[in-house]
Assembly symmetry: C2
Homo-oligomer: 200 residues x 2
């Protein structure tokens, strides 16, 4: 990788941490210069605008968050258990970028303006929904998940419950509500989603 | 009410609409001057700082949101139905202050700084949780709600699901996910919360 590309990636990673904690408007050029140790010209020669940098920083933070949430999922064969692992990861594993969920932060930060950033957040949500939906649809095909389950609705119930619980936990500076959301969703999956084991 | 007090309240109401849409850092003094038609001195003679004004603006927006969410609840006698009405109000009634839920916005906006604003959001959440909890606890006493229901956990499940669904709906600019969260929570209340009617 060229030195220019390395610098660009380093700026994106530092900006991801800054924007995810302080938000788009709360992160100044001065903050970026301090975080990266670069001058204004050294930062903005790589990006056309603050908005472009923020959108790339969001993508970086989002990929880190997804990686934490998908930890160990590929090794699980039953998709009801995959859903449960995803939920556990969300509640228990902290992504490497501080400041909470990049999607929640950016959705709130950009919903009344900032179209490029909002567009990246919207695409991240869509790809997350689709990923969860196909996990559920594949589980129905494999008969691990009940045929009557609406994949899209269940995906949204899981995402909404976890994101809302994270908001509460961050405001309370205490993970209890997040852990309770995990228990609640796990119980829901056992009661209403997983195909009952007839041998039991 | 004195003219000074009237002006102060008008500034708080205009600031509530501004801060709730654009966030604390995204709302400039210039924006406030345009929204109120006042000069800097005319605004800040009433408040000690931007942070104080933002905290009062949050309280104003939060009271408006709570009022919309509690619409018609006092006329309902069964507390399982009160919970359902609260959920319906959250999903269907838009508060008078634009920009989404003030609690969600302010929680995200203030969680890595701004202690006064964060403190107001934390207290708003606590009072909301307690209000829902006593609605559930009273329902258990009146035998409208099952004795085994954990009031605190259920309150948090409802709050988290609705706030998370609102985040998704605002990002999608479409209320479908919010309406689905309403249906999901209503079904959950019928299946797991309401005392079964033995005469049925």
């Amino acid at each position: 990788m060229s030195k220019g590309k390395q610098t660009r990636q380093r700026i994106v990673a530092e900006a991801a941490s800054l924007f995810n904690r302080r938000g788009y408007h709360g992160s100044s050029l001065q903050d970026l210069m301090e975080a990266t140790g670069l001058e204004k010209g050294g930062i903005y020669r790589h990006f056309s605008s603050k908005e472009e940098l923020a959108a790339l920083a969001f993508d970086h933070a989002w990929n880190e968050a997804l990686e934490a949430r998908q930890h160990g999922i590929d090794h699980i064969s039953n998709n009801a258990d995959k859903l449960k692992q995803f939920i556990t990861n969300f509640a228990r594993r902290r992504p490497s970028i501080p400041g909470g969920c990049p999607l929640l932060n950016t959705a709130v930060d950009s919903d009344d303006g900032n179209p490029l950033l909002r567009d990246h957040a919207r695409k991240a949500l869509k790809s997350w929904q689709e990923r969860m939906e196909s996990m559920i649809a594949d589980g129905i095909k494999a008969r691990h998940i009940r045929a009557g389950v609406d994949a899209r609705k269940l995906a949204n119930v899981i995402i909404a419950s976890l994101e809302g619980a994270l908001m509460i936990s961050r405001l309370e500076r205490n993970d209890e509500v997040l852990h309770e959301a995990q228990e609640h969703l796990h119980a829901y999956i056992e009661a209403e989603v997983r195909t009952p084991n007839k041998r039991k």
